[in-house]
Symmetry: C2
Subunit: 216 residues, 2 copies
């Protein structure tokens, strides 16, 4: 599958390495693809299946576009790529933004919902934003099975994203479909409890498992 990842931070790089290693054709999209510091940060990631380009080129040929840009600027950045370029594509959104005061940037409507509303012809799926970049691509590194969530209005897009999660090591029964894109609020607001747990554990390398009733 051809995957365009917007954003070359920890998350973009981890996902590029994960999906590139699984045999997908990945293009990392950067606002400054030729900048020396961007090139330097990408050295460990670039290879046969992973290239870097500008944002427009990363989107142009992609079947799945990944939003790994800062949640505070995702909407204008994707707007600069344009609704026409994104139309019909799956947009796998992993971003969460924080304001300068440490509160969530999207307090009422979630970023996932705003993206779906802003790009109605794009099929937005929120996922992976409840775990750190390291756990996203190595769920087996934890002390037992854990849960990752899907939110989106398009069932076919969620199936596509579910397949990409399995390519990162997430088993089918570790993926919980929460429903429509409105449920992205829960995934994004979990960021606050995530930070509290990380502070208590002294590590971002954890996840949560949904524990059902004994007979559930």
């Amino acid at each position: 599958m051809r995957i365009g990842i917007l954003g070359t931070g920890n998350v973009g790089r981890a996902l590029a390495a994960g999906w590139g290693g699984a045999g997908h054709e990945v293009v990392l999209g950067s606002r400054r693809p030729g900048a020396p510091e961007v090139r330097a940060a990408l050295v460990p990631v670039l290879g046969e299946n992973v290239r870097v380009s500008d944002l427009d080129a990363a989107v142009a040929d992609a079947e799945v576009v990944v939003n790994a840009t800062p949640g505070t600027v995702s909407v204008p950045l994707l707007g600069s790529v344009g609704p026409a370029a994104l139309a019909g594509k799956v947009l796998l959104d992993v971003a969460v933004g924080f304001g300068a005061d440490g509160t969530l940037y999207h307090l009422v409507e979630s970023l996932g919902e705003e993206l779906q509303r802003t790009f109605p012809a794009t099929r937005v799926v929120k996922t992976l934003c409840t775990v750190d970049a390291g756990v996203m691509v190595a769920p087996g590194s934890l002390d037992g099975p854990s849960t990752v969530f899907l939110s989106g209005d398009d069932e076919g897009a969620k199936r596509t994203v579910g397949g990409l999660l399995r390519d990162l090591g997430w088993t089918a029964d570790s993926v919980l479909d929460l429903g429509g894109i409105g449920t992205a609020r829960g995934q994004e607001h979990f960021a606050l409890l995530f930070l509290g747990i990380a502070g208590a554990l002294g590590s971002y390398g954890f996840n949560v498992r949904v524990v059902p009733p004994t007979n559930g």
Copy 2:
């Protein structure tokens, strides 16, 4: 221990039964303790260790006060009891409020923080707000161990609350201390993911377990 529980809804009743059954002396505080519908709802709960009274009387003799009132009205209700009556006591706060539009009522400062700020001589501990009333008092009903959280500025108060959690069946290693009362934000904001998971499972009878790294 003498426990005053403010609020006679599902949560107040479940906690009263749980702690009464564990041998604590519980007074349920109601705005209308003599109202026939309040009495009727409390029939299964009242007994040797569990009484009902008005809010002031429930607080007066209590060592630990439990806020199980609706999160939207907790601050004025506790204000009507008064800062002097609450001074020095442990306030175990389990409440989360939702606005009419389904968003969290406390979007920036958490209810736990607002209570601590409003009643500075009271020792507020936020806990149990990430699980349903049934799970609060029967953590062993789930398909494996799960996690409950503590947030509060007073270490002694958190130890007291930790003991009360064990009386409900929470093992010591299922309780994760997140730190100061500021971390109550994470517990309260989890309500949105809680509702998403409940919708997906068709049940409120679940919890999450924090899964650490393999060597964590």
